[in-house]
C-alpha cells in the first residue's frame, strides 16, 4: 500500500483546537500502534491489515506528525501527546487497549501507561526511546533554528532519507517505503513541523517515568531489532530489567525499523503479545549503567 492510499484510509477527529488523523480498522479487542520520528502512522501499514482480522487496529499520527495537526501553535512533548491520545481514545469509545509504541511512540506509550494506567491493557515497547538514550543527534539538530532556516524541504528530506537508509534498516528498504515514511515532511509546513517536533524531544520526559515503569500492573513486552543502530538493544534490556515480569523479544536480522526488516517475525510476535501468549524469553544480563555511557550512548 503506498502512502497516498494509506492516507486515504485515515479519518480525522477534532479534539478542541487540535485534530488527529488516524486509521481505524477491524473489530475486536483494540490495539493502538504508535509511530516514532521522523515517521507517521504509515510505518504500520505493513502490519495493520493483518492485525485487523482479529482486532480493532487504531493507528494515529501523533500531534505535529504525519497528517495530524501540524500548525505551529502547540506543545508537542511526550506528556502532551499522551494527554491527546487519552482524549482521542475517550472520543473513540476505547476504554483500554493494547498499546504498541515504536521509537518516540514508545516514549508516548510509557507516558500513557504511567499517567493513564486504565487506558493501557497491555504494553509493547519496540526499539523505544527510554532513559537518556535520546534524542538522536540528527533529530536534535533539526530542532535548532540554524538548521531549520538553512535547509530547504528537499534537502531535509534528502538528509533524512539518507539517514533512514543507512542507519534505520538492516535490509535495504524500497524507495517507495522511504518516500512514504517521509512524505508529510516534504513541504515547508512539514519541515517546520518536524523542527518543532524535534525541539520537543527531551530526555526528561522519559527519565521522569522510568522509575514508575516498574509499578505497571499490565503485561509488558519489550521487542527490539537485534541490529538496531539507532537505539541499541541494551536500552531494551535495561527496560526489561527495570519492569518486573516484562518479556524480552529480540528480533534477529532486524534494525531499528524491525517491522519492515522482519515483518513476519514481528507479526507473529505481535499476535502472541495480543493473545497473551508468552514468547520464548531470554532474560538479559543486568546492564551496567557505566557501560551505557562508555559504549557511545547517543546522547
Amino acid at each position: 500500500m503506498n502512502w497516498r492510499e494509506w492516507q486515504r484510509q485515515q479519518e480525522v477527529l477534532e479534539l478542541g483546537q487540535r485534530f488527529v488523523s488516524y486509521v481505524d480498522w477491524g473489530r475486536g479487542p483494540p490495539v493502538v500502534l504508535l509511530h516514532g520520528m521522523p515517521t507517521w502512522s504509515y510505518l504500520w501499514s505493513g502490519l495493520a491489515r493483518g492485525l485487523a482480522t482479529s482486532h480493532r487496529v487504531l493507528v494515529p499520527d501523533l500531534l505535529g506528525h504525519g497528517f495530524s495537526d501540524r500548525r505551529d501553535r502547540f506543545d508537542r512533548s511526550l506528556s502532551r501527546q499522551a494527554e491527546a491520545l487519552e482524549a482521542w481514545m475517550d472520543r473513540l469509545g476505547v476504554v483500554d487497549a493494547a498499546v504498541v509504541g515504536h521509537d518516540v511512540g514508545g516514549g508516548v506509550a510509557q507516558q500513557l501507561a504511567v499517567r493513564f494506567p486504565r487506558r493501557v491493557g497491555r504494553l509493547c515497547l519496540m526499539d523505544s526511546v527510554s532513559y537518556d538514550a535520546w534524542p538522536l543527534p540528527l533529530m536534535a539538530q533539526f530542532g535548532t533554528p540554524w538548521m531549520a532556516r538553512r535547509l530547504s524541504p528537499e534537502w531535509m528530506v534528502g538528509l533524512l532519507s539518507w539517514a533512514l537508509k543507512s542507519r534505520g534498516f538492516a535490509k535495504k528498504p524500497s524507495a517507495e517505503l522511504v518516500e512514504g515514511l517521509l512524505a508529510p515532511y516534504a513541504t515547508e509546513v512539514g519541515m517546520v513541523s518536524l523542527s518543532r517536533d524535534a525541539v520537543a524531544l527531551n530526555t526528561n520526559q522519559t527519565q521522569v517515568v522510568s522509575p514508575k515503569l516498574g509499578h505497571l500492573a499490565v503485561p509488558v513486552w519489550v521487542m527490539w531489532g537485534a541490529k538496531d543502530r539507532v537505539l541499541p538493544a541494551k536500552y531494551g534490556e535495561r527496560l526489561v530489567w527495570d519492569i518486573p515480569g516484562a518479556r524480552w523479544v529480540s528480533v534477529p536480522e532486524a534494525g531499528h525499523f524491525l517491522m519492515w526488516d522482519a515483518p513476519h517475525v514481528v507479526a507473529m510476535e505481535l499476535f502472541r503479545f495480543l493473545e497473551g501468549e508468552a514468547p520464548v524469553t531470554h532474560a538479559p544480563e543486568r546492564p551496567v549503567a557505566e557501560v551505557l555511557w562508555s559504549e557511545g550512548a547517543p546522547v
Binding site: 479519518e11 517546520v192 513541523s193
Partner: protein, 299 residues
C-alpha cells in the same frame, strides 16, 4: 514577463521577515501567499507597501470590503454549472479534511489580497487611494490566526511527479505570471483532485461571460480599494525614492491584478463544489482595546 523570484517565509530575513509576521497576524492567515511573496522580492517597496496598507488592513472596514467582494464573486458563480470535481475523485476522510481546510484558508485570504493589490496598483497609477480617516477612530480586528485555520502547505514549485509538473505548467500558462498560484500549489497535495478540478476550471476561463465576470470583479475591487478608510501613501515617486525598480514593481502588480479576479472566480467554484462549506469561514473578532488605550492613541 520574466519569472519573478519569490521570497519564501522560510528564507525571509530582516524587515521582510517582520512584515511577513505582521501580515500573518493582521490578515489572520497561516501563511504569506504568492502575490505578497512576489512583492517581497523588492524589500524596500514591500516595507513601504505594508506601512501604507497596514492601518487599513487591521480595520473592520477592510474586512467588510473584502467580505463584500467575496460575496459578489460567490453570487456570480453560484449561477454557473456545478464543478463536480469534489465528488469525482476518490479522497479519504483525512484528505477531504485537509483539502477543505486549504480551500477555507484561501477563501479567507484571496479577497483581501486582491483588495491590497488593487489599492497598490491604483496608488502607483497616481490615484488617491483611501479616505482621510484618522487612525484610532475605527474598529479594529483582533490579531492572530484563527484557531481552526489550516496550515498553508504547498507542493514545490517544480514538483517531482510528472502529473503535477504538467498541471503546474498548464496552470501558470493559463492564469499568467508570476508563478503558480498558492491555492493550486496547495491543492496539488492531492494531485488527482487538482487534475479533476483544473480540467473543469480551465475551459470555462476562456468564455466571454467568465472574462466579463473577472472584469467586473476587478472593477469592484478597485472601487472598494478607493473606499479604504485610510489614505494609502504610495506613489511611483515614493517607490523610486526608495531606490526600487518602479517599472518592475508596476509590472508585477499589474500581473497580479490581472489574474487575481479569475483566480477568485475559480476559487469560488471550488468552494461551492464542496458540500456545506461556510461562506465566511474565518470572520474576524473585534479587537478589544481598553478605553484608556484608545484615548491615548487619539491624542
Amino acid at each position: 514577463m520574466a519569472r519573478v523570484k519569490q521570497v519564501s517565509e522560510h528564507r525571509a530575513e530582516g524587515d521582510v521577515e517582520r512584515v511577513y509576521h505582521e501580515l500573518r497576524q493582521t490578515l489572520r492567515v497561516s501563511g504569506v501567499d504568492v502575490s505578497l511573496r512576489t512583492w517581497a522580492a523588492h524589500p524596500r517597496f514591500f516595507v513601504a507597501m505594508w506601512e501604507a496598507m497596514g492601518p487599513n488592513v487591521e480595520t473592520r472596514a477592510f474586512e467588510e470590503l473584502a467580505a463584500g467582494l467575496w460575496q459578489e464573486v460567490l453570487d456570480t458563480t453560484v449561477r454557473w454549472e456545478v464543478l463536480g470535481a469534489w465528488s469525482a475523485v476518490k479522497l479519504g476522510p483525512s484528505q477531504r479534511f485537509h483539502a477543505r481546510g486549504a480551500l477555507e484558508l484561501y477563501e479567507a485570504m484571496q479577497p483581501r489580497v486582491l483588495l491590497m493589490v488593487s489599492a497598490v496598483r491604483l496608488a502607483l497609477e497616481g490615484h488617491v487611494v483611501g479616505r482621510r480617516g484618522v487612525p484610532g477612530e475605527l474598529e479594529r480586528l483582533e490579531r492572530g490566526i484563527p484557531s481552526r485555520m489550516a496550515a498553508m502547505e504547498w507542493v514545490a514549485q517544480k514538483p517531482r511527479d510528472a502529473l503535477t509538473r504538467t498541471l503546474f505548467t498548464d496552470i501558470e500558462k493559463t492564469v499568467g505570471p508570476p508563478g503558480v498560484p498558492g491555492e493550486y500549489r496547495a491543492l496539488a497535495c492531492w494531485p488527482e483532485y487538482l487534475e479533476a478540478a483544473w480540467r473543469r476550471l480551465k475551459p470555462r476561463m476562456k468564455d466571454e461571460d467568465f472574462q466579463a465576470a473577472a472584469e467586473s470583479v476587478r472593477e469592484s475591487a478597485r472601487r472598494r480599494a478607493l473606499a479604504l478608510p485610510f489614505e494609502v501613501p504610495l506613489s511611483r515617486e515614493r517607490v523610486a525614492a526608495l531606490g526600487e525598480d518602479v517599472n518592475a514593481i508596476a509590472r508585477v502588480t499589474q500581473a497580479l491584478e490581472t489574474r487575481l479576479p479569475s483566480l477568485l472566480l475559480n476559487l469560488s467554484r471550488l468552494v461551492q463544489d464542496v458540500p456545506d462549506m461556510l461562506r465566511q469561514p474565518m470572520p474576524g473578532a473585534a479587537r478589544l482595546v481598553p478605553d484608556w488605550v484608545a484615548a491615548e492613541e487619539l491624542r
